[in-house]
């Protein structure tokens, strides 16, 4: 576990080894969905499909199976590495953020997984533009909140 806790010089909070290992797992998960089921592992689209909000070719039960797997996998890792102490925002910011994320991902046709991982690795122009855009507005949002709140 000590390897996972290594940080980059000058960035004491960073965990690049854990990050890369987690990223490889996410890539393998998305690869399994692509090569096994022939579909994109985009969480916002799969969520919309599961809850009957958006159309999609994925069988609805399959969408539910994927969604149920997400907390299951997190639980397995937490039981092995010990739970971290995540710092969630209060209910009001969580509601505001959730609404905006829901609206934005439906309009933009994807989120960090669909555009950021699956689309960028395919060099999709739409996904490159989407990812650059949401990272830019995310950085701006945090900068503004840190300066004014």
């Amino acid at each position: 576990m000590s390897l996972l806790a290594i940080s980059l010089p000058g960035f004491p909070d960073s965990t690049p080894v854990a990050g890369l290992a987690g990223g490889v797992l996410i890539g393998l998960a998305a690869a399994l969905m692509l090569l096994g089921s022939g579909r994109i592992a985009g969480v916002s689209g799969i969520a919309a499909r599961a809850f009957g909000i958006g159309a999609g070719s994925m069988p609805r039960l399959g969408a539910w199976a994927f969604l149920i797997g997400l907390p299951l996998g997190a639980l397995i890792v937490m039981s092995m590495t010990g739970a971290a102490e995540p710092s969630f925002a209060g209910p009001v910011p969580l509601i505001i953020a959730g609404l905006i994320v829901g609206i934005g991902t439906r309009l933009g046709g994807g989120c960090t997984s669909g555009h950021g991982v699956c689309g960028m690795s395919r060099l999709s122009q739409r996904s490159l533009v989407a990812t650059a855009t949401f990272i830019a507005t995310g950085i701006a949002t945090v900068a503004i909140m840190n300066a004014w709140l």
Binding site: G19, A31, G38, F88, A89, S121, R126, A130, N146
Partner: protein, 138 residues
């Protein structure tokens, strides 16, 4: 059965990767977006690792006539850059920055901090319904 096992396995591995990479902790995600403050580059390693593996998967996909366990591929084929794409992504980034959560970690965090994650996920689904309703009347 395979139609359920593949997405269940994919989701479980995905959730494990999110937790291992620290992406279920909103502070770490906001740390990555805090480029002008105490920047935490960890998310770049997560995304880099995932993109590298998926780039190989796309090469394999190009050689397959059909998926291993399904009838055919159902993949996006659009390439047009629209106002809707840019505007929607811009909005998504704002919400991502406010809470430090995007859809994947929102669901995965149901196992870590259920109440907070459930509030976020419920609001997110409500936002998706809003788009659906507006478009239904357009």
């Amino acid at each position: 059965m395979r139609q359920l096992l593949i997405p269940l396995a994919s989701g479980t591995i995905f959730g494990a990767g999110l937790a291992l990479g620290g992406m279920t902790d909103p502070a770490r995600v906001r740390g990555f977006l805090d480029l002008f403050g105490a920047w935490d580059p960890t998310l770049a390693f997560v995304m880099g690792g995932a993109v590298l593996v998926m780039a190989v998967a796309w090469l394999v996909q190009g050689k397959l006539l059909r998926p291993w366990f399904a009838e055919g591929f159902a993949l996006p084929d659009r390439s047009d850059i629209t106002l809707r794409l840019v505007g929607g992504s811009a909005l998504f980034g704002v919400g991502w920055g406010i809470a430090g959560l995007c859809p994947g970690p929102g669901f995965a965090a149901l196992a870590i901090e259920p109440m907070s994650a459930a509030v976020f996920v419920a609001a997110m689904l409500a936002g998706m319904v809003v788009v659906r309703l507006i478009e239904g009347h357009a």
